[in-house]
């Protein structure tokens, strides 16, 4: 027997966004690529947890950023593009394009949660198996947290947000590949400049302009560690502003009238905050790279 047709009640503001965000979050969490990325990230995380020679604040953060962050960027791009073939029908539904994009942006909390989990594991591991103090370089407790949060949570949040924005705006085949190449190229360029310098505003500025960087690198055989220039806390705020800008860029697609105006205003606010944070990140913190030795002595890093 056929059931009687019903109609939805006009929803309370925001309720469709909430339901849709739940749907998109489940799609994200079940995406095979995302699951593979998370699973692959577990291995080096567990291995590094009780490894005395682990790069506590350095290379370890590469794993969540790459295996969860970059992979999630591709997943977010795919999820955003997945409904393009249904676009004609989607234009005739009461839910606005900005709400659909907003739901995709909210679904990025799934990879961000994986980043939070990684950060929690890392902090517990540091507490449970404390590294020698010199292994934190010149960075105090607060800076350590900012560095780890930037490498994990913000990378795992920002990259998929950029994926959503690219998914909305890019109209080319192989857009995901182009996106990954662009972001990794940007980060690698900043890193390469920093590796060939011992500081200076230009090198620091180029390195900290990128959405992922490290603040501590180890020498051969962990005989010394180099603490890099810049302020980790202001860099973290710069990353938050980048996340905000990626979200605004995504939401602007299809936004009209008052919504578009409001988004542009919030975007301008993120630009101002971002530039301020970026400037302070470059000019704050260490001015020159400092090498810290196992006996606790600190020396100016030699030119590479």
């Amino acid at each position: 027997m056929t059931a009687v047709a019903t109609r939805p009640r006009v929803p309370a503001p925001g309720s469709t966004l909430r339901v849709l965000a739940g749907v998109e979050a489940r799609r994200f969490a079940r995406h095979p690529l995302f699951l593979a990325g998370v699973a692959t990230c577990v291995i080096p995380t567990v291995t590094a947890a009780n490894d005395a020679n682990s790069d506590v604040l350095g290379g370890d953060g590469f794993f969540p950023a790459l295996l969860v962050g970059v992979v999630s960027m591709v997943v977010a791009y795919q999820l955003t593009r997945s409904t393009r073939r249904s676009a004609e029908a989607l234009h005739a539904v009461p839910t606005a394009a900005t709400t659909r994009t907003g739901a995709l942006c909210l679904a990025c909390v799934v990879p961000a949660a994986a980043g939070v989990l990684w950060l929690a594991v890392k902090l517990i591991a540091i507490h449970r198996w404390p590294p020698q103090p010199w292994m934190f370089g010149t960075f105090g407790l607060g800076d350590r947290f900012a560095i780890l949060a930037g490498e994990s949570v913000l990378a795992c949040l920002g990259a998929p947000l950029l994926g959503v924005a690219a998914g909305r705006w890019l109209r080319i085949r192989g857009g995901a590949v182009l996106l990954v190449a662009g972001v990794t190229g940007w980060v690698t360029a900043g890193f390469a400049v920093a590796l060939n310098s011992t500081g200076g505003l230009l090198a620091t500025g180029l390195r900290l302009s990128t959405p992922f960087t490290v603040f501590l690198t180890s020498g051969k055989g962990y005989r010394s560690l180099d603490s890099w220039t810049g302020s980790p806390w202001w860099y973290l705020l710069w990353l938050v502003a980048l996340c905000g800008l990626a979200t605004i860029a995504a939401l602007l697609h299809g936004a009209t009238g008052g919504t578009r105006t409001r988004l542009l205003r919030v975007g301008a606010l993120f630009v101002i905050v971002g530039l301020l944070a970026y400037g302070l990140a470059v000019t704050g913190g260490l001015r020159r790279t400092v090498t810290v030795h196992p006996d606790g002595t600190r020396t100016a890093a030699a030119a590479r």
Partner: protein, 291 residues
């Protein structure tokens, strides 16, 4: 008098230098209206305007008592609208249930139990209940078309806009679909564009023939068919005087033209005959449609 649910006054739409619609006036009330016309006549453009997907360049479009001037008006119409586009693609990996459920969320079903019940209802309506959990990519063309139709039927819309709904359906499925649409149209305004004149003849109270972006005919199906009375005849060979002729299964030729020869075996016209006569009338002479 019943207030029109769809009202178009002097509606025009251009794509570059081409006028897809030009000065279209329409007033539709609940019931089924068929939209006929050759390719490029403006059927899809008209349906996209009715589905609020496309804005008219000129004229007034009033749907379900809303003028579509503001986003709020468009949202209010979309809450009572079902739309089946000519071509609807599906996200990869989705099952029929998941896709229709996704569309239901976008149509503002917040509560999962009510939403799922409605999704099951429409899938049952299009006879896909048993295939609901199968991936859409594994379904046949006709089954995919029915998935697309199911999303349009969500919430028993007051205005249902269907662009070639029977494409890819086999005869049994088409008959089943006609039953569904006839049920739906009891309380709704249903506009369907098609190249299948038999669907219009079987389903529609009213038919609109578009040509070159203009309304060429707007009236009851019976009126259009009646205009072809005495102008369709069978013969053993194609009649050179006929506007169109084709060989039928019996081996005889069905001729449609200005007037049947005096000794010809005149037969009852179909909507297709009348449509062909009307189309031919644009280039030769007009046909008189009885009031």
């Amino acid at each position: 008098m019943i207030r029109p649910t769809v009202e178009l006054i002097g509606v025009g739409k251009r794509f570059g230098g081409t006028a897809a619609l030009d000065g279209v006036d329409l007033a539709l009330t609940p019931g089924i209206t068929g939209l006929l016309g050759p390719n490029g006549a403006g059927k899809t453009t008209l349906l996209r305007i009715l589905a609020t997907v496309l804005a008219a360049d000129e004229g007034v479009v009033r749907l379900l008592d809303h003028d579509l001037a503001t986003p709020q008006d468009r949202t209010a119409v979309r809450r009572r609208l079902g739309y089946l586009p000519q071509e609807l693609g599906f996200p990869r990996g989705f099952s029929a249930f998941r896709f229709v459920d996704y569309m239901a969320v976008l149509k503002e079903w917040g509560s999962a139990p009510a939403r799922h019940a409605e999704v099951r209802r429409v899938l049952e309506q299009v006879d896909l209940a048993t295939l609901a959990t199968k991936r859409i990519s594994t379904l046949s063309g006709g089954q995919r078309r029915r998935v697309a139709l199911a999303q349009a039927l969500l919430g028993a819309p007051d205005l249902l806009v269907l662009d070639e709904p029977t494409t890819g359906l086999d005869p049994e499925q088409r008959v089943a679909l006609r039953r569904v649409l006839a049920e739906t149209a009891r309380a709704a305004t249903l506009v369907l564009a098609t190249h299948q004149t038999e669907d219009v003849a079987a389903l529609c109270d009213r038919v609109i023939v578009l040509s070159g972006g203009h309304v060429q005919f707007d009236g009851r199906v019976a009126q259009l068919v009646a205009a072809a009375t005495g102008r369709v005849w069978l013969a053993d060979a194609p009649d050179p005087a006929a506007q169109a002729s084709w060989r039928t299964g019996s081996g005889r030729y069905r001729n449609v033209g200005k007037a049947a020869p005096s000794a010809a075996e005149v037969v009852d016209p179909t909507l297709e005959d009348a449509y062909l006569l009307l189309r031919g009338a644009t280039t030769s002479d007009s046909i008189e449609v009885p009031a």
